[in-house]
């Protein structure tokens, strides 16, 4: 057997690798680690996934063309070829270009954790507790220096300044952050009368938010004693903590808005209730007044004095009617009388006498003489004429019809 030199073996390996078309032109996805940029400008790093790692080189002129500057933890798709660096006897991936967005190791871990916790039921809708309507004490886990806290306090102050805030400060970034977050949550658990809590961090790269994808943090949030609302990062970022919270909101401000009632809305409602009160009572009073008026009318209609007056009026009516009837009767009588008087007048002896007749009376007895047989010769008779009386003595009595009178 021939003994070969290191160089020869290495060259052989290199030749094998270089001859492989598969390795000559390929894309590899992975997460950048141990990234260094030499003073020469060449970049050295590794690409790794959950199980393996491959050494990478990117020459200065290629690295310069990248639109972003690669760093530790970036998930990338890298293009190049695999060859052997003979001096070190190491196979390497010679990267000529790469872009962000490949599925990195952390992303894989994220997905794996998410799947596991989801399978465990930690994200179940049935686990989500409703937030209290009227919170008094709000716990806040965030950095005591960050903009997140300022945003939260501003929103609370503006919306519902009646709450007390219990701050449990924590690191929210870096390798210490997950443990610190868990400790901060635990401290809050010791606070009495806490109604609701917020776990928040301002926006940043997914890398910055990574502590909120830590299993310990996620579990602490899921197991938290009172309803907890997450507000981590920006609109589009979802962390494992978000999935475990009772309510996920996109930012610290929205988290704060979610845990308290809206003061402006409350004021509007109070104003409405005030108007409602007035309307109800005005209406009530009006209704009572109406009822009162009705009863007053009823009462008045039953007033005995009113009755008496009515009776009196009825009597008056009767009297008036009676009086009218009597007057009418009198008038009728008078007319009748006048008529009779007229006909009577027509019969008066005077009028007869005026037509040439005379009335004859016995001057002694005053009896009216209607027949010659009542008279004897020598009787004294008074003969009444319209303008006077003739005293006479009868000298003759002649019987027979009076038709001789012309």
């Amino acid at each position: 057997m021939r003994v070969k030199s290191v160089t020869k073996v290495t060259r052989h390996i290199k030749a094998l690798i270089d001859a492989d078309e598969e390795l000559d032109d390929l894309w590899i996805e992975g997460e950048i680690s141990n990234f260094t940029r030499a003073t020469s400008g060449h970049c050295y790093f590794s690409l790794k996934d959950s199980a393996s790692e491959i050494r990478c080189v990117m020459w200065r002129q290629d690295a310069r063309r990248l639109p972003w500057s690669p760093s530790q933890g970036d998930a990338v798709n890298a293009h190049g070829y695999v060859s052997v660096y003979e001096q070190r006897g190491a196979y390497q991936f010679y990267v000529d270009t790469m872009n962000q967005g490949g599925v990195g190791l952390r992303w894989r871990q994220f997905l794996e954790l998410k799947e596991r916790l989801e399978a465990e039921g930690l994200f179940d809708a049935s686990r989500k507790r409703p937030l209290p309507t009227w919170p008094r004490r709000v716990g806040v886990v965030t950095s005591s220096a960050g903009a997140a806290l300022r945003d939260i306090l501003n929103v609370l102050r503006e919306r519902y300044p009646l709450v007390d805030v219990v701050l449990s400060p924590s690191l929210v970034q870096g390798s210490e952050a997950p443990e610190d977050l868990v400790r901060a949550l635990r401290r809050l658990e010791g606070v009495e009368d806490l109604d609701v809590a917020i776990i928040a961090r301002g926006g940043g790269s997914m890398e910055d938010l990574w502590a909120f994808n830590d299993e310990r943090v996620a579990r602490a949030v899921a197991a938290f004693g009172v309803p907890i609302v997450s507000g981590v990062g920006h609109e589009t970022d979802f962390t494992i903590t978000d999935f475990c919270a009772d309510l996920r909101t996109p930012t610290p401000s929205t988290a704060a808005a979610a845990v308290v009632p809206d003061g402006r809305e409350l004021r509007t409602q109070i104003g409405d209730m005030r108007r409602n009160l007035t309307a109800l009572v005005t209406d009530r009073v009006a209704r009572y007044r109406e009822r009162l008026e009705r009863e007053r009318r009823l009462l008045r209609s039953r007033d005995p004095r009113r009755r008496l007056a009515e009776e009196r009026q009825r009597v008056d009516d009767l009297v008036a009617r009676g009086r009218a009837a009597v007057a009418q009767a009198i008038r009728n009588r008078r007319l009748e009388l006048a008529r009779q008087r007229a006909s009577l007048k027509a019969l008066h002896p005077y009028l007869v006498m005026k037509r040439g007749y005379a009335v004859v009376q016995d001057a002694v007895s005053g009896g009216r003489i209607q027949s010659v047989q009542e008279v004897d010769r020598g009787d004294l008779l008074d003969i009444y004429l319209p303008d006077g009386t003739l005293g006479t003595e009868v000298t003759r009595v002649i019987e027979g019809e009076a038709d001789r009178i012309s």
Binding site: L153, P161, I270, L277
Partner: protein, 78 residues
């Protein structure tokens, strides 16, 4: 309700009492006297609610240990 009783009520209790009063008035089974006195109380409560919202200042404390010790953190008011 006198002033001290009113002061002792929390915002939400005041608000809930106000809602109760409205409900009672809406039922319309009360006497006129009761209605009027509830109205007066309601107006007082509404005013109190507004005042509470106007006057409130967030109180901030910081929790120091898992025993729940707290200190005031007014300096956080930015």
């Amino acid at each position: 309700m006198d002033k001290r009783e009113l002061e002792a009520l929390s915002f939400e209790d005041t608000y809930k009492r106000l809602e109760d009063i409205i409900h009672k008035l809406e039922e319309g089974t009360l006497s006129l006297d009761e209605s009027v006195s509830l109205y007066e109380e309601g107006m007082q409560l509404a005013k109190h609610c507004d005042q509470k919202l106007d006057a409130a200042e967030i109180k901030i404390t910081e929790v120091l240990s898992e025993m729940g010790d707290e200190i005031d953190r007014e300096d956080v008011l930015i």
